[in-house]
Each structure stands twice: as structure tokens, then as C-alpha cells.
Amino acid sequence: MSPEMGHDDVRTALAAEALGALDGDEAEAVRAHLADCAECRSELEELREAAAALAHAAPPAPMDADRSARLRARLVARAAADRAGGAHDANPDAFSTGPALKAVAPPLSVPDDRGGVIPIARARERRGGMGGWLAAAAAVLLLIGVGAYAARMKGRYDALSERYASLDDERTRLVRSVARRDSTLASLSGAGVQVIELASTQRRAPNGRMFWDPATARWTFFAHDMPALKAGRDYQLWLITPAGPVSAGTFRPSPDGGAVVQATYPLPRDQLKAIAVTEEPAGGLPKPSGTPLIVGTYGTTE
């Protein structure tokens, strides 16, 4: 069910609608409003025209001359064949990209009296002369044929629907993956990102590096050579402030000792004194209970 949207809300969303960027529910609500609001329809047309004009801003890229000539010839030939074969779409929803769709539906036919196949039109012509039994048989066979065809189309529709759902899921997964990657890159490469080195307090030399973007309050921590944890234990990352340690999350390293932790936590620059990692019970604690495994002080790198 789409949410209700008032006139002002819809007007605010019209630019996104013109760009095709509205999400499902919102798009549905906007379109429902448009059906009854001429003012919004008019504004949407202007915005759509503005969106379409973006095509003019793309770098001019003429098609290769040979390729263009072949495409033109193909189009004109197809159009000539189309004109010879029948009229254009009378039904707006029946748009076809070519003759291929026409070929999907086999011609309706019935067996003739010698076991061959004759067009249904001929069967009708012969119905009167051959008697009622032939007409009845033809009708039955026709129904069987139509039923089989409908079942085949239904099967094809179901398969395509399933395929579409699968592709849509895959698309959603990929978009999220890209979003995560972009978000990580943004938190590492921002102009104001601070880099804090953490040194080991252990002989085995685990170490880490914290990237802090004060502008977005994002913290991205990379750890290396972390010792493996026993069951029921986690590493916990701490931001050390004058008011005490603040947890920035728990993590378990990969088999090679590496780990990445991301957190969002606003903290004034003068409040950060150090970064530390301790080993704690699984899930972490409100306050550190263990000795810091690695520590990095802050204040000298600014």
C-alpha cells in the first residue's frame, strides 16, 4: 500500500520522479496524486524535459559511420516489411521490438481428415458440408490447442517472472556492495581524514591504523597480525577520551590476523586522546577490562 502524500510533498518529489529515481512506495503515491492534480502534472512535464535535456550534456559521441549506415538500412528495411505486413501498434501495451514476438504464437490449426494440418479458416469453410460431428471435433481440438498454448505461455510467463525476481535480487545485492565500497573509500580519502598509527604492546607485533573523518564522524580501523581469539572472546576497539573509553565496536580477526572495523561516532578533535584494542568477553563490555593489546595516541599527528 502506498503512503499518503500531500500536494507539497508530491511537488518536492517531482524532480526525483522526472529522473526516475523514486523508490516504489513513494513513486506509487506520487503517481496517484498526479492523476488528480493538473498543476503537478504540468510541473512534472517541465522537469522531465529538463531531465531529458541532460542527454545534450553527454559528451558528443557520433556512431561509427559504417555501423550507423548499417543500422539505418536495417531500420528502413524492417519498417518496409512491417508496413507490408500490417499496421502499427493499435494497442499501446502491445509494443513489440520486431517480428520475433509475432512468431511466438503458432497459427491456430486443426487436423484435416487425412491427418494433415489445415488452417482454422478452411475448417470453418468446410464445417457446413461435412456435418455437425466435424464441427464439434474441430471445436474440441481447437480448445485443446488453445489450452495447450495458454499453458505454455503461462509457463513461460512464470519462468520470466522468476528470472526477473532473481535479477532484481542480484541487482539489489550489487548496489549494496558498491555502496559499501564507496562508503569505505569516502571514509579513507576525504580531505579532512586523520590517520592515527597504533603500535604494538606485544612481542608478536599486532598493529593497526585508524582513519578518522571528523567531518562525517566516521571511524575506519584496520588491524594486522592480531592473535587468534579463543571461543567466547572478542577484540574491542576503544576511543579514549577525558571522560573515559568509548567503545567503537568489537571484532574477530580473520585467520591471517587481519580485521576491519567501521563506526560512526561524533567526537570533537580535542576529546580524542588515544585509540586502544583490548580482548574482552564476546560482545564486548561497557568499559575495558583487559590490558590494551595495541594503543595509538592522538594529538601529535595533527
Binding site: D23, E45, L47
Partner: protein, 198 residues
């Protein structure tokens, strides 16, 4: 008068002939709009073979649906551009399932400077089209980078506002505001063309 904004007489005549079944009109439509549409489609799909197929589908759709074209709802180029963009986005969406790296392979935008296209042939080989491109490119170039990025992700990559928010790490409300401001500015820039055309 810029054909983007007001349907030109030549466009009306082309549509009328196509609706009447004159295949030569489809050839003329191709001559008139192939470069504009190809520039858009190649920007989205990146691959010349894919772009050619998308263009063929677009022109074929225009041929089949010429009788349904409503002049009052926008110029012919707007109609064609919307069809081409929709089909190009469908193409990259189906391709992304097997080629995730295509996200990075998409060409980066490089808008034409307001001075014109230099040695690059005019898409419509007309001064009017050059003027439209100059005004649009100039308007886009003047947008703040974050607004331009929002419009580009939506228009050329087909991302929804939620997807843009996730991709850029910005709040959804910020993305909505940027999209609205950017497109409104672009609309106002086009209004200048309308005024000039009167």
C-alpha cells in the same frame, strides 16, 4: 526554435509520416537523432555493440508507436531520449548481474564547456542544437559537485534516491534536496532558451 523545447515543424512532419507507414521517415528520424541518442546511450552502456542494439530498439519503438506520440507532452527529442535512456538502463541492469566491475568501467562524465563542442561534429548539425547543448552543458557545469553527482547517478546510472544515499553515504533527505535543486536549476536554464526562442 530549439527542438528540445518546442516540437519543430520538421519533427511533426516526421512523426506524421511514420504514423502513416512511410519507412523513409524512419530513415530521416535516424539521420536527425542518431548522434544525440548515441551520445546518451554510449554514456550509459559504454559498449558500442550494446549501444547499437539500444538505438535500434529505440528507433523501432518510435516507428511502432508514432501514432501515439503526443506533442503536447513534450518535444520529439524528449520522447526519444526517454525511450533510449530507459532501454539503455535496462541493458546495464541486466549486464551488472555478471559484470559487477562495469560500475567502475562506466566512462566518467566530461561535460562540454560552454564555449561549444570544438572540432566534434554537431549532433544535429545545426546551430540550434549547438545552442541547446551549450546551455545545458553550461547549466550542468555550474551545478555544485554534489548536486551534479546526484543527478548523474540517477540519470546515467539509473539509481534510486535510496541507492544514491547508500552509495554516497549521505542522508536520504540530503539526496532528495540535491536532486530537486539540480533539476530545478536545469529547468530554469532551459526556460532561458524558451524566452530566447520567442
Amino acid at each position: 526554435m530549439p527542438d528540445t523545447l518546442v516540437p519543430a515543424q520538421a519533427d511533426r512532419e516526421l512523426v506524421r509520416r511514420m504514423a502513416a507507414g512511410d519507412e523513409a521517415a524512419l530513415g530521416a528520424l535516424h539521420d536527425r537523432y542518431a548522434t544525440l541518442l548515441h551520445s546518451l546511450v554510449i554514456r550509459i552502456v559504454g559498449d558500442p555493440d550494446d549501444a547499437e542494439e539500444v538505438l535500434e530498439e529505440t528507433f523501432w519503438q518510435a516507428w511502432r508507436q508514432a501514432g501515439r506520440y503526443e506533442e503536447g507532452r513534450g518535444g520529439l527529442s524528449t520522447w526519444l531520449v526517454m525511450m533510449a535512456r530507459s532501454r539503455a538502463l535496462d541493458r546495464i541492469r541486466s549486464r551488472r548481474r555478471v559484470r559487477e566491475e562495469r560500475w567502475e568501467e562506466l566512462p566518467e562524465p566530461s561535460y562540454v564547456e560552454a564555449g561549444g563542442s570544438g572540432d566534434v561534429p554537431s549532433p544535429l548539425e545545426s546551430a540550434q542544437a549547438d545552442e541547446v547543448r551549450r546551455v545545458v552543458a553550461s547549466a550542468v557545469a555550474r551545478l555544485p559537485p554534489e548536486q551534479r553527482q546526484t543527478v548523474e547517478l540517477a540519470y546515467f546510472r539509473g539509481m534510486s534516491q535510496t541507492e544514491i544515499a547508500e552509495a554516497t553515504g549521505q542522508p536520504l533527505g540530503t539526496v532528495k534536496t540535491r536532486a530537486r535543486l539540480a533539476l530545478t536549476k536545469l529547468r530554469d536554464a532551459l526556460a532561458v532558451l524558451r524566452e530566447d526562442a520567442r
